[in-house]
Amino acid sequence: MNTETNYQVPTMADLAAKGETPDVLFWVGCAGSFDDRYKKVTIAFVKILNHVGIKFAVLGTEETCTGDPARRAGNEFLFQMQAVANIQVLDGYGIKKIVTACPHCFNTLKNEYPELGGTYEVIHHSQFLQQLINEGKVTLKGGGAFKGRRITYHDSCYLGRANKVYEAPREVLQALDADLVEMKRSRTKGLCCGAGGAQYFKEPEPGRKDINVERTEEALSTGADTIAVACPFCMTMMTDGIKNKDREDSVKVYDLAELVAQAQSL
């Protein structure tokens, strides 16, 4: 892992072998681990963590699905099997604090694991990035590449309505000096991308239109050339929507971590 740029990705097993504990566990999530597009977000976030010198670790191959899609689809058995097993791993390492880039993992770890015995301080990477900016650990003044660029932010349901995280992602974008424009439906009224509730893992029911196309049209109508997201599933849905509208040349979908990493030339 030690190359000239020297970004580190320590695993919990590594740290435990050295008798060390991290300040925070980065919960990568399935999309962050396997989805080619979202792996770039994982990497961007890891670079930021390295850059600010935070002592973090990942579970690596010991991480498994939180069980969220199974639970939302109605398979409570499978969810709880996943959750209880994950809690054993997390508690085995004495994890206290978790950061994740996936709002679904975030919601499940934060709100649903405590009842099964797993209680941790869980924050979403948008909140984590906002804290870094507020503490001056990440400075984006001048904004560079994003100064004045028109960016619209798509609220993830499991970040926004589910957990009332509306401002942290926006503050991160404002720190980029970007021209943040809101869609007509935003914050509490934000329209779902269409992926939640395990919809991502099946074809939609018959209807007039796909939800991601409806949402993409709304995002495009703001005139933004960048759609900022903070969720792997929103990322896929919005990217597919842009392709559906033949706008992939002029409009890009980025995660907050990618924008911050780019602004810092990481």
């Binding site: 020297n6 990497i43 939302r72 689809a73 009224k189 099946k202 209807g207 409806e214």
Partner: protein
Amino acid sequence: MAILQQILFVAALATAAWFLIRRAGLIRRAIQLGQPENRTDRPNERFSIMLRVAFGQKKMMTNLTVGLLHFVIYVGFIIVNIEVLEIVLDGILGTHRLFAPYTGALYPFLINTFEILALGVWIVCVVFLIRRFVTKVPRFQPERHREMARWPRTDAALILILEILLMTAFLTWNASDSVLREREVGHYGELSTVGTFVVSQFLMPLFANWSDAALVACERFTWWFHILGILFFAVYLTYSKHLHIVLAFPNTYFSDLKPKGEMKNMADITKEVQLALGIAQADPNETPAEPGRFGARDVRDLTWKNLMDAYSCTECGRCTAACPANITGKKLSPRKIMMDTRDRLEDIQRGWQQNGPEHDDGKTLLGDYITAEEINACTTCQACVQECPVNINPLDIILQLRRYKIMEEAQAPASWNAMFSNVENNMAPWKFSPGDRFNWADQVNP
């Protein structure tokens, strides 16, 4: 004559009370069909939610214009009902404007306030009829929302028209009564110092050429129409979507205080999972509990709060208008979920009345009222929960129905079954090897 009116009035009051108590009992029993759930913790927080959301109508104000219009009807309804107290006492005691001699200048002030509010209610009800039937606000239209066809549409129109008639009767009553006072006809003359009222004075010229006898008849008719209308309204409420004016208060008090994203844990399953994973040992002394039903198939499997939600729904459709599935033409409508739940409860009640309390019509909420296609379309985005002005949670019902479909009937869309199997075997919803989960790290330092 006066004593006859008193007898008739008390009889009308008693009849309305009998129907009302009977209906309230039935609705209470219907709600109690639901499973127990504790919603009495954190009373201060609950009380504060009730004050803000029900009493203060906080969530109605997200659309300020409609919110304020609704507020006029709400305040009008509460305040004008103070006048009903006097009307009821007059009816029982055979008096006329009982409070007037004792309240002096306060009396015309109060009646003037009631009249202004009555006029406000009248105007807003007309505006609401126009919105529903002329400018056709989309969320009310049966062409777009099949659950709004027939009875719900009639119900909404009846409520608004009845309110307009009641307010018209109240103002006409005051106007004819004022003319009778001015003419000092019979006992009306005893209150001649009360004067005329701020709104109804403009109706008085209509009666200029009426005979005293015709005026008395008009005064009596409008008085009776108004109070009988209110009694009818009170009973009708219990059959109507309009029950929200009562249930909004308890329904917000018993709101879900958890974060919206948190799904209810199924404790029965936790026990089994812990046994399966060897975390807990089976207690040999414990007799295994009769396995309950996983998820909900019918209203009896839902919680009492889900059922109270159903009776609190006024079918405004803010949930459905915000639902991404509904917006894009899927069959799911959160409002229909609530209406179906209530219809199911009403059908069960009808069964009780016709065939005794043990009657089972063989129908179920999932299947006969709500289809798998509807619940499968939900993205669990919580927009419906967010939008509801009285904190109804349609999502909670949808998720319980899904649990039944998956865990009891094992009927999932094929690709969900594939996802389940991937999570179970590959530890991710996709068919990747778990051993490759950390391969992304190889790309960190290109």
